[in-house]
Symmetry: C2
Subunit: 466 residues, 2 copies
Amino acid sequence: MHRDPLPIHEIIRIVGKENTLTAPEELYCYGYDASKLRSSPDVVVFPGSVNEVAELIKLANRRRFPVFPRGAGSGMVGAAVPWNGGMVMVLTRLNRILEIDSDNMLAVSEPGVITGEFQQAVLRHGLFYPPDPASLQFCTLGGNVAMCAGGPRAVKYGVTRDYVLGLEAVLPTGSVVTTGTRTMKGVVGYDLTRLLVGSEGTLGIFTKIILRLVPAPEGVRTLMAVFPNLDGAAKTVSAIIKQRLVPSTLEIMDQATIKVVENYLQIGLPTQAEAILLIEVDGRACLLDGDVKKIGEICGQCGASQVEIAHTEAERERLWQARRAVSPALGQIKPGKINEDVTVPRTEIPALIRAIQQLAEKYDLTIVCFGHAGDGNIHTNIMLDRNNEDELKRSELAVEELFRTVLDLGGTLSGEHGIGITKSPFLQWEIGAEGFDAMWRIKAALDPLNILNPGKMFVPNRAFFN
Amino acid sequence: MHRDPLPIHEIIRIVGKENTLTAPEELYCYGYDASKLRSSPDVVVFPGSVNEVAELIKLANRRRFPVFPRGAGSGMVGAAVPWNGGMVMVLTRLNRILEIDSDNMLAVSEPGVITGEFQQAVLRHGLFYPPDPASLQFCTLGGNVAMCAGGPRAVKYGVTRDYVLGLEAVLPTGSVVTTGTRTMKGVVGYDLTRLLVGSEGTLGIFTKIILRLVPAPEGVRTLMAVFPNLDGAAKTVSAIIKQRLVPSTLEIMDQATIKVVENYLQIGLPTQAEAILLIEVDGRACLLDGDVKKIGEICGQCGASQVEIAHTEAERERLWQARRAVSPALGQIKPGKINEDVTVPRTEIPALIRAIQQLAEKYDLTIVCFGHAGDGNIHTNIMLDRNNEDELKRSELAVEELFRTVLDLGGTLSGEHGIGITKSPFLQWEIGAEGFDAMWRIKAALDPLNILNPGKMFVPNRAFFN
């Protein structure tokens, strides 16, 4: 696309010199995200208002340079990584919670607010914002909305899209729209709000976000159950749901994960066990003890060899210790990993994990599975050394087979990470040529010059894949 | 658009003679919906498969005639009414529930299934499909998805969009797409599912619908409270929410409604009262009695002169009797009504109702307000005789002022009915020129020949407004 130098003076006239970075060492810092893909932009800007965002986008359309919006850069698929130069637009200066409307149970926030800080702020009003991506202590609401972030609590509470009531957004041609409502109901025109949620920065840049809130749960109870065999754990998940109990969290660790974590923590985890479930219930206080007891009984009936219920906050922390240690523990066994957040209907979890075990054997790889059993979202980590070409090749073949299996099981290639760059070669596998065509028509209609976050989602971006 | 006769022989070749209507008296029956707008099509077809739908749409693109999809025709805004001839496509032959997946708490249905029958079917699995439009005994799921139907339970459970996980749909050019997932999480590409929900038949025709289900509530409790003044009722709504109790239903009737219903039923309703609230809580059995008692106390503290709690199903029916009688009672006072489903943040309900009372006075009209106080969705009925030109004119002026007021209060022009024909002159008032432009670009990108349901939403369709 662009080859001409960017109009730096015009950019500075809009956002000010103090909000414009051009030194190579500064550009370098805004050239990557959690995918570890990397490419330096020509300029980084920090707009301070919706008007500045709109002016920058209009300038980009006039001068035809790409704009790559980003928040904290915690995304896993390269959606915030620039490509072929251009402008990175960082939204973190727009970091105010504008309003917490307790009576109407909603809040209006700017995109740069940290998700965890937002949750704390609304909690002080007895309100709860459930989406809880693992990065919540540093990721931003704008990024969460752009990627439709999920988290462990989705099994009970849904994901980001289920909480976004409306947006103020700058569209790819620089016009400013207000979408949605401040009410649960609203059916005036197309649902631009939900079209923009999860659009990965390709259809709009959010400058205000209206979020629905729910009453804060009065309490939470935590239980850990150890299963000698995987099917027992899977049966437990189904049996809990069959009892119409919906835990707020229903996490699973497979045997490979248990071994890795035990090797790291040395806390006596049962490495013979094929699975551990970590289950939480939350909600009205008077239900919690009964529900957690009933779930413990179900675990036992389904073959758990050990069930522990936390009675204190310290005990709860101890039960979470192993789950929280997964990521650092993985870092110890191999320098790299390919982390796929595939999702299948929860009844297909054992089929998925068995298929993954076979892939590990077939391709001689260490594959570690853990994640959100309640909603079928299993984080599948292929551990590797990217400098080992043979291992990398085998891993890529395993990923392709994994994706075929997931689609055969009625699942989706991404539950919460998105497409970005890393999954763009596989987009059509799931949505087909017709779905791709419809999505691309929408992109082209709203962004005729392909200004906003080009090279993502639609285009298998070979620049990043050697 | 089209002036040539429709290619009836080709149409019959696709759907069969027995599924094609061309006699004027038959066409007449498919020329209207609950808006009472009317216009006869050239042909009515009843396709029996996704392939037939796709073939018909491709034919319509080749021969350039408009297609007007519909279910039961229970919509309130004319979205299913044909215009300038063309083809009405009735989806009621696609009326099978294809799957109820109890373990994964979802169901797959064809669009022609009656909403109420679907609810009964899933209830037999202990599952619950909450959206409850007033027409649920005869409206179809396809129509509900096309219009994003709501209902009284939205205050706790949300609306149709909150339950649609995925779709099989025929797009306006005849291609068939599968959107969304069978899982709570799924972020692969743009959210075509939610773009299609509420698109009023202008962007796609649904042939399969994947619906999320929730555990059926174990019970329900019902309470009626009478308020000498409106502010007490409004304060009650806020106070209940402040206690973080979320009723499953929170209905209001204003004084005009109470008088009309009492005149109709003669059951001793307090016609001096400015408002009646009808409140239900549902959910886990052990919470219900405590919650309804607490809500009763809140009503008393906020100035209710009378609080009744139903202890039996018969008592519950009696409390609902007045609410259910509203529509037939309205039919007695005037031959016609303009029913607007405006929605405001729930804290603005008293301001809205007072403004409506002033409009009634200013324009010498009977305006009756009732509806869903919990989510701010107030059905505003201007009672009139459409043959009385002066009254009609005054009503139209009142509607315009009502809409301005609603937008000033941070509300939306339609909570659950949609735009269709009747609200199309006002679409831009809410979404602005920029929002309109974005929506129209999407429509034009997906439907370049404007085949699917033209003359709705975007175009103030003067043919119906003399």
